[in-house]
């Protein structure tokens, strides 16, 4: 060992003790300087002794004693310098001793327990058996070999089909952001075995879909419809409702609502037959205007993954076109009540005119969506997720949206009530155990045997929340008030004579 090197170490050691006021244990020093523990002990000893010789006895030392207290009973002990003599008396035979730590002061010896643990690589014993387990071994250890095999099989059957498509879709059109997500996803997944990989992949694709969608929306607001069309539309699974679809359905929906049933039947032929009756049904049964819109939105979701993007887009175009025509036709034909036309004009404003206006429709639809979600009807988790995104990105044009929406929500109810009366469907509201229940359309999403997400609509009775209650109550109010007034009138004694007549 070169003396110079040791001097450097000693200097450093002096600094640690005097300047940094550290509890310098041999193990900490060895780790700090990257030296063997035994050398570290010797360094401490040299420093301690020079200090003693120089008589400036400001540092205190602790010693490690090792020996036999009695036959067949070993003892390892750390003692303060001052207690060395008494400590040594306990031992029958001391087999080893060295400096454990140096410090300015040490009020409590247990304080040394919270110092750094040192580096076992610098110790005097190395083990060739202390090697890390491979990832696969860890996996087996964690899950058990039988379970792991089982899991792997499940993963394979469940994931492959949707995954392939999702990958094709997303990977080709990954935006930077999505890529980032992928990277971070990869980082976070430490398991690199096949099973883990596949599971990580699904996670990733889900993420990508998610982000692709968000980006899709963002860019759509900036670009024209053409741009929108060329955007990646992740249609691999029902998870991804694309905004073009949404718009499409939203517009379609709007008309039937504002017009009557007959009109609805004249809906654009482009809508697939399977969906049409359902929509009408929805409309009939839905207590609120908001609901159909939501349904339409669900409908888009429900669209089987097999419908390719292209198809969807074609539909968008044709639908919007025919709708436009429809709307105009409608306006000419049936100048209904004020409120309807008012709303209609709003719709027209949005749907007719330039295609660029589509953006507005989208935003307005989104706004309504948000509204519905705020009504607390949200039972679908996935929908919630999308809602969150759209709400913060479209906050800028919220005022304009509100303008459009307000008449919509306030003036529709009468119509709805009418329709409900005529429909043969089960009652909207029923009483059960003293609790008002509202018949609602709820969709259930589950994964079928083939790995596809299937969304099914079901009517369920749910006890209504506070907000839902408002509307029906409002509708009912005038009638009850009337009745009350009438009865009050009847009871009222008109004249004194009347009273006597009765009796």
């Amino acid at each position: 060992m070169i003396r110079k090197q040791i001097d450097i170490y000693l200097e450093a050691l002096a600094g640690y003790i005097n300047d940094d006021d550290k509890l310098v244990t041999y193990k900490w020093l060895s780790k700090e300087l990257g030296i063997h523990v035994n050398l570290s002990k010797q360094l401490l000893f040299e420093y301690w002794e020079t200090q003693r010789v120089q008589k400036n006895h400001v540092i205190s030392a602790t010693f490690l004693l090792m020996g036999y207290v009695k036959e067949r009973e070993m003892r390892v002990e750390v003692v303060k310098e001052d207690h060395m003599a008494s400590a040594k008396e306990k031992f029958e035979k001391i087999i080893s001793e060295h400096i454990y730590s140096l410090q300015k002061t040490l009020p409590e010896i247990e304080l040394l327990a919270i110092t750094d643990k040192g580096d076992s690589q610098l110790s005097a014993v190395h083990s060739s058996q202390s090697v890390l387990r491979s990832d696969h071994e860890m996996e087996v250890l964690r899950w058990g070999s039988a379970l792991l095999a089982n899991k792997q099989m499940k993963n394979n059957t469940q994931i492959t089909a949707p995954k392939v498509r999702a990958n094709a879709n997303t990977e080709s059109k990954l935006t930077d952001q999505a890529k980032n997500v992928k990277e971070s996803g990869a980082k976070s997944t430490t398991n690199k075995t096949a099973a883990a990989n596949s599971s990580a992949k699904t996670q990733k694709t889900a993420f990508n879909n998610f982000f692709a969608k968000a980006i899709d929306k963002q860019s759509k607001e900036k670009t024209s419809v053409k741009g929108v069309k060329s955007k990646p539309v992740a249609s691999s699974s029902s998870l991804t409702t694309t905004s073009p679809h949404k718009n499409n359905w939203f517009e379609e929906k709007k008309k039937p609502i504002s017009s009557d049933n007959k009109e609805a039947k004249e809906n654009p032929e482009n809508i697939s037959d399977s969906k049409k009756p359902k929509l009408n049904e929805d409309k009939e049964k839905s207590p609120k205007t908001n609901l159909p819109k939501k349904n339409a939105w669900f409908e888009a979701k429900k669209k089987p993954p097999s419908t390719s993007d292209k198809e969807a887009k074609v539909q968008v175009e044709s639908c919007s076109d025919s709708k436009k025509a429809n709307v105009e036709k409608f306006e000419e034909k049936s100048p209904q009540t004020e409120k309807v036309s008012k709303q209609e004009s709003a719709v027209k404003n949005l749907s007719s005119g330039k295609t660029g206006d589509k953006k507005k429709v989208a935003s307005s639809s989104r706004g309504k969506k948000r509204k519905t979600s705020s009504k607390g009807e949200n039972t679908n988790k996935k929908r919630k997720r999308i809602v969150v995104i759209s709400s913060d990105e479209s906050s800028d044009d919220s005022e304009t949206r509100d303008d459009i929406e307000e008449p919509d929500s306030s003036e529709e109810p009468p119509q709805v009530v009418e329709r409900v009366k005529s429909s043969p469907s089960p009652p909207l509201v029923k009483c059960e155990g003293g609790r008002r229940k509202v018949r609602k359309l709820v969709d259930k999403t589950f994964v079928d045997e083939d790995g596809y997400f299937v969304t099914q609509k079901e009517y369920v009775y749910e006890s209504c929340s506070d907000k839902e209650e408002e509307m029906p109550v409002e509708a009912a109010k005038p009638s009850t008030a009337d009745v009350a007034a009438k009865t009050a009138n009847k009871r009222k004694q008109v004249s004194l004579l009347n009273f006597f007549k009765k009796s």
Binding site: M1, I6, Y26, K27, H36, V37, N38, L39, K41, Q42, L43, F45, E46, E49, F63, L64, M66, V69, R72, E73, M74, R75, V76, E77, V78, V79, H83, M84, A87, K88, K93, I94, I95, S96, E97, H98, I99, I109, E110, L112, A113, I114, K117, G118, S120, S123, A124, V125, H126, S127, S128, Q129, S130, V131, L132, R133, E137, M138, L141, R142
Partner: protein, 460 residues
């Protein structure tokens, strides 16, 4: 200048100035290791069975060796079933069966239910022993009360399979003359191979209730080969394996945090948090040891795994850091393994603790009970009576199948050890491993000589 002169010149090295000598590094001794406790691992669990099967399969398994031993001990005697005992007509007869100790103080769920009206629950007892205890011998069909001057009821526990010789009294009791137990499993002739290395046993670290202590630090440093001079470190390098015998994360059911606040849920979550934190600290501690030494980790009574014995290995996800090392083996409790040519077996202490509850604690040391379980040929006879265990119905895995060389019980009050010599020439090192949190003591066993010594850590 040597201040503290010691008689060993070797130890002076570290009390000298650094020299040009290259610091020594020792390679840790490697010994072949095998886990023989496959029979304690659970496959699929089936709790629909009743515990009766445990006793019947135990009796069936031990009847044959018992009959042999009884004949060897008492000459050519006839072995009767209890149902055929009348045929003996009051003559000497040998009966093989399972002992049942009737104890009024034994906790009973039925009695608890019937006494539900009691305002305060009875305090848990230290032991269930009383002078009114009665002993019965049961075989597949009947039971008979055991009486006689040769009966020391306190030495017996429920679940022991044994043979008794005696006479049936007129009142239907059985007057016992002598006992015969299955005895320790005979050891196959072992090859005289050299077993280099030492085995270190620790138990009861109880990190949930202990703060970071100097003794634990010193233990780690000692195992890692950091403290001591080169001579000591050479010794340290000969530790081939550390067995941690239970209760490392938690050593008692006590909860220390948030006492007196609110019971129920809040307390539960506090306890869970405490355990999780302790597990994390244990992981830190363990990861430092496994970096330089092999560790066999057994769960204990209060550790976060199943409570019924056999306890399954601690899940590796509880110890994310240390579980990555190949040198860490999580095993069951009880556990049987092989180190070189030595068979090592032991428990985390519950069976011995439970036997001591059933019997009177005061006069018999746990070491004696440990020895007796060997001659009873069963790791935990009181399961499933007072010690909860899995309802086995095909095979009783707790029957001792192999004669261990080192047989230990963890979490004992204090360190005790003895070398037991069996009738068939077996030599077994019996060890009671003390709780480390209280004593700061670990036990070091030489695999070659079977010498055991305690080693304690601390500060003063």
């Amino acid at each position: 200048m040597m201040v503290h002169a010691t008689d060993s010149s070797d130890s002076a090295i570290l009390l000298s100035k650094p020299s040009d000598e290259k610091p020594v590094v020792f390679e840790r001794t490697i010994v072949e290791y095998e886990d023989l406790s496959e029979r304690f691992k659970h496959g699929s669990k089936d709790f629909s069975r009743q515990f009766f099967h445990v006793y019947s399969i135990r009796l069936r398994a031990l009847t044959e060796p018992l009959a042999e031993r009884a004949k060897a001990k008492w000459g050519n005697v006839t072995i009767y079933k209890l149902a055929d005992l009348e045929d003996a007509q009051g003559k000497r007869a040998v009966v093989i069966g399972t002992l049942y100790k009737h104890q009024e103080l034994k906790p009973s769920i039925l009695r608890e239910l019937s006494e539900e009206q009691q305002l305060a629950p009875p305090t848990p007892r230290i032991n269930y022993c009383s002078n009114k205890d009665q002993l019965f011998l049961e075989d597949e069909m009947l039971r008979i009360k055991i009486v006689g001057n040769h009966v020391n009821i306190k030495d017996m526990v429920t679940g022991i399979v044994c043979a008794v010789i005696g006479k049936e009294n007129e009142d239907g009791t059985f007057d016992v003359e002598d006992w015969c137990f299955p005895g320790c499993v005979p050891r196959p002739a072992i090859s005289a191979s050299q077993n280099a290395g030492k085995l270190l046993l620790i138990s009861g670290l109880d990190l949930a209730n202990r703060v970071e202590s100097m003794s634990l630090n010193l233990l780690t440093e000692w195992i890692d080969g950091m403290i001591g001079d080169p001579a000591i470190q050479r010794e340290e390098a000969s530790i081939v394996r550390v067995i941690i015998a239970g209760n490392s994360i938690r050593g008692s059911a006590e909860i220390h945090t948030s006492k007196g606040h609110s019971g129920g849920k809040a307390q539960d979550s506090a306890a869970a948090k405490e355990t999780a934190f302790a597990a994390q600290r244990f992981d830190m501690f363990l990861s430092r040891i496994v970096e330089s030494c092999c560790v066999t980790l057994m769960p204990g009574q209060f550790d976060p795994t199943n409570h019924m014995i056999p306890q399954q290995p601690l899940h590796p996800c509880i110890l994310p850091k240390s579980a990555r090392f190949k040198s860490l083996q999580g095993v069951t409790n009880p556990w049987v393994g092989r180190l070189g040519s030595r068979i090592v077996s032991g428990t985390s202490g519950q069976p011995i603790e439970d036997i001591m509850k059933v019997c009177d604690v005061s006069n018999v040391s746990p070491l004696v009970w440990l020895e007796r379980t060997l001659s009873w040929r069963h790791y935990c006879p009181t399961a499933p009576d007072t010690l909860s265990s899995y309802p086995y119905y095909e095979k009783d895995p707790f029957i001792i199948e192999e004669c261990p060389d080192i047989y230990f019980a963890g979490n004992m009050e204090k360190y005790e050890s003895s070398l037991w010599k069996g009738e068939d020439g077996q030599t077994v090192r019996l060890i009671c491993v003390p709780r480390f949190c209280d004593s700061g003591t670990a036990v070091l066993v030489d695999l070659d000589t079977l010498d055991a010594q305690a080693i304690s850590f601390g500060s003063s």
